[in-house]
Each structure stands twice: as C-alpha cells, then as structure tokens.
C-alpha cells in the first residue's frame, strides 16, 4: 500500500483528465475533468463539492473506470486501475462500488428487491446457495427495511427505501471503496438524514473509504473529513474539511461557503453573491478559470493559470493571490478580506 507521511491511501488519483469529443466531422471537445489529483485514506470519506457542470460526477465515474479517462493515474489499494485489462477490471469491480443520485432508476424495474440484493451474491458466489436467503434478510435488516420488502418491486418503494436497497446491494459485495454521487439530492430532508446516518453506521461497520460527491456544503461538512472544491474541471482548493470550513482561502470557496443556506432567520451573515454564472466548459476562460467572476482579479489571472500549491497541512490551493513568490498580493488579499 502506498504511503505518505505514514498514512496509507485506499485511493490515489493523479492528474486525472477526461476530454469528451463529439461530432464525427467537426470534432468539438469538452475538457470535463482537467487534471485532478487527490488521495483518500483507508476508511476516510473525501468530499468533492462544486456546482453543476463542474465535472464532479465525471470524476466519480472516472475513478471507477465506468468512463475511460483520457489521462492520469488511479491507484486503488496499490493496483493501477487504468492499466488493468477488461477481465482483471471486472474482477476488481466488486471492491469499488457506486451509489447514484436517482434511486428510482438505480434499480432494475422488473426484478424483485430480494433478487436485486441476491444478484451480486450469486454472480460472485459470495455466499453458498443455502445461506443466500438468510444473507439477503440480514442485509435488508441492516439497511432498515422489513423482510416483506423482499417480494416487492422497485416502483412500490419510496425514494428513501430504494436508496436503502441500493446500499444493501452494494454492501453485499463487501466493497473497500464507494463513490456516493449525490446520494440524497432527490430525497426529502428528513429522509436524507435517515440515509446519511445509515451510511455513517454501515461505514463504521464495513470499514470502506468513500468519495462523497455533492453540491451541498452542509452535507460535505457533516459527512467528510477532507474535501476538494471543483470549478470547471479543476480542483481549486482542497484540504481537511475542518480547515476549509474554518479558513477557506480561494475566492470561489469563500463565495460558496457564504452561500450555504442557513435555516435560521436570525443569523445575519455577510453574503458574497457571485456575479454571473459558471462559463461553459466547452470554452473555458483563459488563465484562472474563475477570473470572470472573481472580485480579486489581477492582470496575471487572465493570462496565467495558477498551479495548485500546498499551504501546509495538506491545504492546497490554486490561486495567484497565494502564489508563494508574490507575497504582496497575499497581504493585500488578507487586508481586503478582513475589511
């Protein structure tokens, strides 16, 4: 297992890129993911946050190789995933699972819940035939469903229940790593709370690492120990969740943090309302991709792309304001922010 400063990583992602091309004659290409690196320690949950279209969902698919990356490295449990052939990849798949956003379309509509959960057990012969039913009931109980659900069809379940079935099936495979792609964004808040607390419980029990993808910073702060903020295919800031929530540095992260909805009319907070919208990834801005909406834009931002630099303690940021060689800007930024 690869290690850095004594920490062993379950998943290492380095310089991951994906360019989608469309059109047979006049090829148009979109850099959906443009050079992303992060590590997830064993048993840890890493959060990936960003607005729609930033490429976070694609990252989830890429690390599982559900979409073939254009470039980069994905190392899972010391295995170079992108070097595997089809057969070896299929053998590895049970260990890396995914939970999708829309529970209703995550389940085969013509299979009974019991069969859906039993399918992985059958496919990999994980449990001898005689014990399968018992195992299914065990899993069903673990995710908080009733034994009578075994004979139901997916359309007879609510969204929350469907997501529990998805979880049960994923757990049946005994994965070491799970991508949770907005697992609760189509659920009501009270159900969301149910599902997320269930995920926390099973993560403790089954001990897997998790890539938690969400647009909701409230969830990221509750579910993850470290996180990355994505903007137009790039990570603009990453670090421990605690540090980022206490001391976000990147202007985009700060704007995102200030836009977090707070369910209390008494809390008055200075909001940074970002102007405009995220540019299209087909035609990203030159230099720093955020410069079109950034309040601290300097000339250099339009021309040169900022590199991700380490501020210490794993806090990484891609912003010219923090470029080490230009201390003057950093100081100016600090002053502006404090005012």
């Amino acid at each position: 297992m690869a290690s850095m400063r004594g920490v062993s990583f379950m998943l290492e992602v380095q310089g991951l890129k994906k360019t989608f091309t469309s059109g047979l004659v006049s090829k148009r290409s979109v850099k959906a993911v443009d050079g992303i690196s992060f590590n997830i320690a064993d048993g840890e949950t890493f959060g990936l946050v960003g607005e729609s279209g930033c490429g976070k969902t694609t990252v989830g698919r890429l690390v599982l190789r559900l979409i073939e990356p254009t470039e980069g490295k994905v190392i899972f449990n010391s295995i170079d995933v992108l070097k595997l052939n089809k057969k070896a990849l299929r053998k590895l798949r049970p260990q890396m699972q995914i939970i999708f956003q829309d529970p209703e379309s995550s389940l085969h509509p013509r299979m009974k819940i019991g069969d859906i959960i039993a399918e992985p057990l059958k496919l990999y012969n994980l449990v001898p035939k005689a014990n399968r039913e018992k195992k299914v009931l065990e899993l069903i109980d673990m995710v908080g469903l009733q034994p009578e659900h075994v004979n139901r069809f997916p359309h007879e379940l609510s969204g929350g229940q469907s997501q529990r079935v998805v979880l049960a099936r994923v757990l049946a495979l005994g994965p070491r790593f799970i991508v949770a792609d907005e697992p609760t964004s189509s659920l009501d808040v009270s159900v969301q709370a149910q599902i997320l607390s269930l995920m926390n419980t099973v993560q403790e029990e089954f001990h897997f690492s998790c890539l938690f993808i969400s647009h909701d910073l409230n969830l990221i702060s509750r579910m993850t120990s470290s996180m990355g903020v994505m903007y137009l295919g790039k990570i603009v800031e990453a670090g421990s969740t605690k540090e980022l929530f206490e001391e976000a540095r990147h202007p985009y992260t700060r704007a995102l943090m200030s836009a977090i909805p707070i369910a209390d009319p008494q809390t008055k907070r200075k909001k940074i309302v970002l102007e405009g919208e995220m540019p299209s990834p087909m035609n990203p801005p030159s230099g720093c991709r955020f410069h079109t909406r950034c309040r601290f834009k300097e000339k250099i931002c339009e021309k040169t792309e900022p590199q991700l630099i380490d501020l210490g303690e794993g806090h990484r940021i891609a912003c010219h304001l923090y470029a080490a060689e230009d201390k003057r800007l950093v100081i100016r930024h600090r002053v502006t922010v404090e005012i």
Binding site: R61, L64, L66, R90, K91, L92, R93, P94, M96, Q97, I98, F100, Q101, D102, S105, S106, L107, H108, P109, R110, E119, P120, L123, Y124, F153, H155, E156, V166, R169, L173
Partner: protein, 282 residues
C-alpha cells in the same frame, strides 16, 4: 402477479375491442390446433360431383371447384396461416431484437453500420422486395417465410435499438457494470426484459400485417402451393368463380380481415395497457 402487472391486465380487459380481438384469436388458434378433430371433411378429398355447391347444412361454407369442403379448408388454412405468421414473427423479432440491442448497447461503429444497412433495406418497398426474392428462389412456403422475414426484422431492430438507447443511460445499467457484470449478461438480464413491452406490442400488430403479406403472396400464387389450404391462395382460386360462387372468396376474405383486425385491436389495447412510463418509444 405484481400490482403493476395485474393493473395492466385490468386496463387491457377494460378495452372491449381488445377483448373481442383476443377471443377471436383464441378461437382461431383453437381451431388451428384441433383442425384434425373439428374439420368435417378431408381437405384434399376431391368430389367433382359435389363441386361449387352453395352453403348448406352439409357444407356450411359451400364447396369449391373440385368439390372440396370450404369450411374444412378454411380451418386447415387457419393452421397454415398461423404457423407461417407465428414462425415469421418469432424469427424476425428474435433476430431484430438481437441486432437492435447490440446496436443500441455498443453504439459506435457497429451501430452506424447496422443502422445504415437497415436504412438501405427500408428504402425498398417491402412487398416488391419479397416478390423479387420469391422470383429468385421460386414459390413455396419456406421461401415465403424468407421473403417476409428479410424485411420484417428491420422494425424490431429499430424499436429495440431506440429502447436500448434510453435504457443504457439508466443508472441501474451503470450499477451493473460497476458490479462487474459482463456486457452479455447486462444485455440479457437488464436490457432485454426492459425492452420487451414495446416489442410485445409491435409483435401483436406485426402478426396482423404478416398475415396480410402471406395472404397477398398466396393470392399471387407465390406462397403456399396447392393443394395446401391457405386463405390467400383460396381467395385466388375462387376469383374465377366470383360472380357465380361468391362464397369461395367471401369466407377467406372475411377471415383474413377478421384475423388482422383482431390482432390490431389486441395490439392497441396492449399499447394502452402497458404502463406509459415503461413505454420508451414515443
């Protein structure tokens, strides 16, 4: 039975035309199966003394120019028609669905090639294509099947492909891939069952048009050859006597119409009954 399925069934049974169609088809199928027991006469028994008799108690549908009992020939004709048409539909749907799922699931070059091939084949008027094929191979039942099937699978392939295209975007397919299922397994266990509802509707409607094509080829003398009883060829043989002995044409004609209509009614009913959420073709 699941809730949805029984509800579909209720919906279907509410449609009177479809139920009537279903009853007609069930009766015809029973007749075809039990032909040996219910046909009053031997179909090949030539009795020139009895020729061209109008309908009577003895011969409810009269007799033909060779004195054969028309009712018996109609009953055996049902068997011929149903055997042929079911065989054609089974062949074309299996092949078409197979091709359609492959094209829709794998996309890319395979899809392009298959779809262009289908476009080319669809550019020919199907009946003319069938005539050409029979012209080349010679008349007969097997060749009829070949001729009709050659074009018949195209529609299945198109519908199956369109349905597959929308199914493959569903997250349960991605989930199955993430689970490590092979492409073949996914096509068989995940794509196929979810493709079936529109295919079943198409099969029912298609049975009607296949019956028509078989009758048309029979009428042109290119399908089933005498003395095999078949509705289309019976129509053809009766044509000469249309003025004096209309029953020779009226009964086969009515029968063809009845069978086609019945299948169309069933198809319409099925289409309405199958949950619209699961109907992917719009």
């Amino acid at each position: 039975m699941t809730l949805a399925k029984s509800r579909n069934m209720d919906e279907f049974l509410k449609n009177r035309a479809s139920v009537a169609g279903l009853i007609v088809i069930l009766m015809l199928i029973t007749a075809a199966i039990l032909a040996d027991f219910i046909a009053p006469y031997d179909t090949d028994k030539i009795a020139l003394k009895e020729k061209l008799k109008s309908p009577s108690w003895e011969h409810p549908m009269g007799t033909d120019q060779l004195g054969r009992d028309v009712l018996s020939r109609m009953i055996y004709g049902t068997r011929t028609t149903f055997e042929l048409s079911i065989l054609v539909v089974a062949l074309t749907s299996t092949f078409g669905v197979f091709i359609g799922i492959i094209a829709g699931y794998f996309r890319g070059v395979i899809d392009e090639i298959l779809m262009r091939l289908i476009d080319v084949l669809l550019a020919f008027p199907s009946i003319i294509l069938a005539l050409v094929i029979i012209g080349a191979l010679g008349p007969g039942m097997i060749n009829t099947i070949v001729a009709i099937s050659l074009v018949g699978w195209l529609f299945y392939a198109r519908v199956a492909r369109a349905t597959t295209l929308s199914i493959r975007e569903k997250e349960y397919i991605e989930g199955a891939r993430a689970m490590g299922c092979s492409d073949g397994y996914i096509c068989l266990r995940y794509v196929l069952p979810n493709c079936l509802p529109p295919i079943i509707v198409l099969m029912t409607l298609n049975l009607g048009s296949v019956i028509l094509s078989i009758a048309a080829l029979g009428y042109l003398g290119l399908g089933a050859q005498p003395p095999t009883p078949e509705w289309g060829s019976m129509l053809n043989e009766g044509r000469e006597y249309l003025r004096d002995c209309p029953w020779l044409c009226v009964f086969p004609g009515l029968m063809i119409m009845l069978a086609v209509l019945a299948f169309n009614f069933i198809g319409d009913g099925l289409r309405d009954a199958i949950d619209p959420r699961q109907m992917v073709i719009k």
